[in-house]
C-alpha cells in the first residue's frame, strides 16, 4: 500500500512539475516562495530553552519539517481571491493541527485535491466502502483561502508541519 502510494504521489509530483513550468512562463503580479525548515531546541547554560529554525538538518524518518509559503504582491494592483494550494509532499505525513495562516480559511483534502473540507468534516472512503473521518496522516492537500485583498507590495505567510515517513 505504502509503496503504491509513493509511486502514485511521485507521478503526481512529476505532473505538478510540468504544470509549474507552464505557469512560470506567465509570471503574474503574485510571487510565492516555499521554504522547508526544522526546529532545534537549544538549552542554554542558564537552562533556558530557545527554539532555532534552520534548513533541514539530519532529517530522517520521524523528523518534523516546517514548510512555509510566503506570497507577495509584487505588482502595483491589489490582488483578491487569493487561494494557496499545497499538496502534502510525498513521503511525509501532515502533523495534525499544524497548518497556519493569518486571515485564511484553511481546508484540507484527503482525495488528492478533488474535494476540500474542514479538518473535522473531512471524510475518506474506508476499505469497507463507507465514509469515515480522514486522519491527518491521510491528508493529501492543504488549501488556504485568503480573506480579503492583498494590496500592492504586501505579503502573507501560510504553512504547515509534516513528519518524514
Amino acid at each position: 500500500m505504502r509503496i503504491s502510494r509513493l509511486l502514485l504521489t511521485t507521478t503526481l509530483l512529476a505532473m505538478l512539475g510540468s504544470f509549474s513550468l507552464a505557469a512560470h512562463a506567465a509570471d503574474g503580479a503574485l510571487k510565492v516562495k516555499s521554504i522547508a525548515e526544522v526546529e532545534t531546541t537549544l538549552v542554554g547554560k542558564d537552562g533556558k530553552k530557545t527554539v532555532k529554525r534552520t534548513p533541514p538538518e539530519k532529517t530522517v524518518p520521524g523528523s518534523e519539517v516546517i514548510f512555509t509559503n510566503t506570497f507577495e504582491n509584487t505588482g502595483n494592483k491589489t490582488a483578491s481571491g487569493i487561494v494557496i494550494n499545497n499538496p502534502i509532499p510525498a513521503n511525509t505525513e501532515y502533523r495534525a493541527g499544524s497548518a497556519f495562516g493569518k486571515d485564511c480559511e484553511i481546508l484540507f483534502s484527503a482525495d488528492g485535491g478533488k474535494t476540500f473540507g474542514a479538518a473535522e468534516n473531512l471524510k475518506i472512503k474506508g476499505t469497507d466502502g463507507k465514509d469515515q473521518t480522514a486522519l491527518p496522516k491521510e491528508y493529501t492537500h492543504i488549501r488556504w483561502t485568503y480573506k480579503g485583498q492583498l494590496a500592492a507590495g504586501k505579503s502573507g505567510e501560510v504553512g504547515f508541519r509534516a513528519v518524514v515517513k
Partner: protein, 351 residues
Amino acid sequence: MKNMLPQFNFHARLLGLCGGLLLLVPQLGWAVGTPSGTTISNTATVSYAIAAVPQPIVTSNAASFLVDKKVNLVVAEIGATATAVNIGQTGAVIPFSVTNLGNDPQGFTLAAASATGNPATGGVAPFATNDFSATGLVVYVDANNNGVYEPLIDTATAIPNLAAGVSRNVFVVGDIPAATLNNQQSVVSLTATAVVPTTMAALVATAGADTAGVDVVFADGAGVAAGDIARDAKHSAYGAYLASGVGLLMNKTVLSVLDPKGTAIVMPGAVLTYQIVATLSGAGTATNLAITDPLPANLTYVPGSIAVNGIAKTDAADADNAQFVANTVSVSLGNVASPANFVITFRATIN
C-alpha cells in the same frame, strides 16, 4: 489521483510477485521509513485575481531536502522470561530478536556477555539477579528465522544485511556449569551493533553540521549493557538462564573408623563405615536413578553391611534395591521425584 482502485491493483500485483520473498521474511511488523537519499520536495500554487480578472496560477519554487540515513535498532529477549536449563547442560539457548528500525538495510554484528553482579540497569524481573555465569557464550543467527535453534543451519554469527523494518531472530548459546545450584540464574546481555551491510565496516555518524549529501544519523536508544549509550549504533538487552529441573548432589564421607583394638586408627584390619548422601533438588523426576560405588583394591566389603535410609539390605541382586556385586555397592532407586534425600551406608575393612 490517489483513488483506491490503482492502489489495490498495484498491491495485488506486488503480492503476486513477492509471495516467495514474503514467506522468507515473515516478520514485517514495523513501518519502513523513507529510504535515505530520497528527495522530499514541497511546492505550493497560488491562484488570484486582479480587478476581478482571474490571473494565471503561480507556482512556488520547490523547497526540497534529502532524507538522511537513520541508524536505529532494537534488541529484545523473546518471551521476557528466563530460559529454563538443566544443570550441566551444554548448548543452552536464549532467543533474542534484532530489529532494524532505520530507513536503510544494515548489517549487524552480535556479541553476548555474562552480566557482572546483579544488573544495575535494565535488570527488571525476571533478569534482576545474577547468581552464576554461563560459559562459552556464542551468538548464532536464525538462518531461516523460524525461531528454533538448528545447530547445523544456524551457523552465522552476524547478520550481513537486514532490510529496514525487518526483525531477525538470533540465539545466545552457552553452557551451564555443573556446579550450578538449582534456581540459580545467569544473566547475559546481547549487544547488536549496526554496521555497513556485507562489508561489516563500522558506521560513523556524520559529525557537525548537515552536509549536502546523505548524512548518517544515529537514533538508537541506550541499552542495558555497560557502555551502551543512546546514539551509538548499538542496542542491547538482557536474557537469563535459570537452572531448574533436577539437580543431584552426591557426598561420600567416612562416617567412622573402628580398628581391631577398638579405637579409631586407620590401619589394616580397621573397619570403615562409609556414608553416601544423595540429594535431589529442584522440580521434576529423576528416572532410573542408580548410585554405584566400586570398592578400591585395598578394601574388603563387610558382607551384609548395606543400609539405605537406615534400613538394612541384602547383598544379593534380588527384590530389595541394593546389592554388592562385582566388588561394587549399587543401589537402584528407580524413578524419584525431587526433592529427595537418600543416605546409603556400608562398611569395608582395610586390607
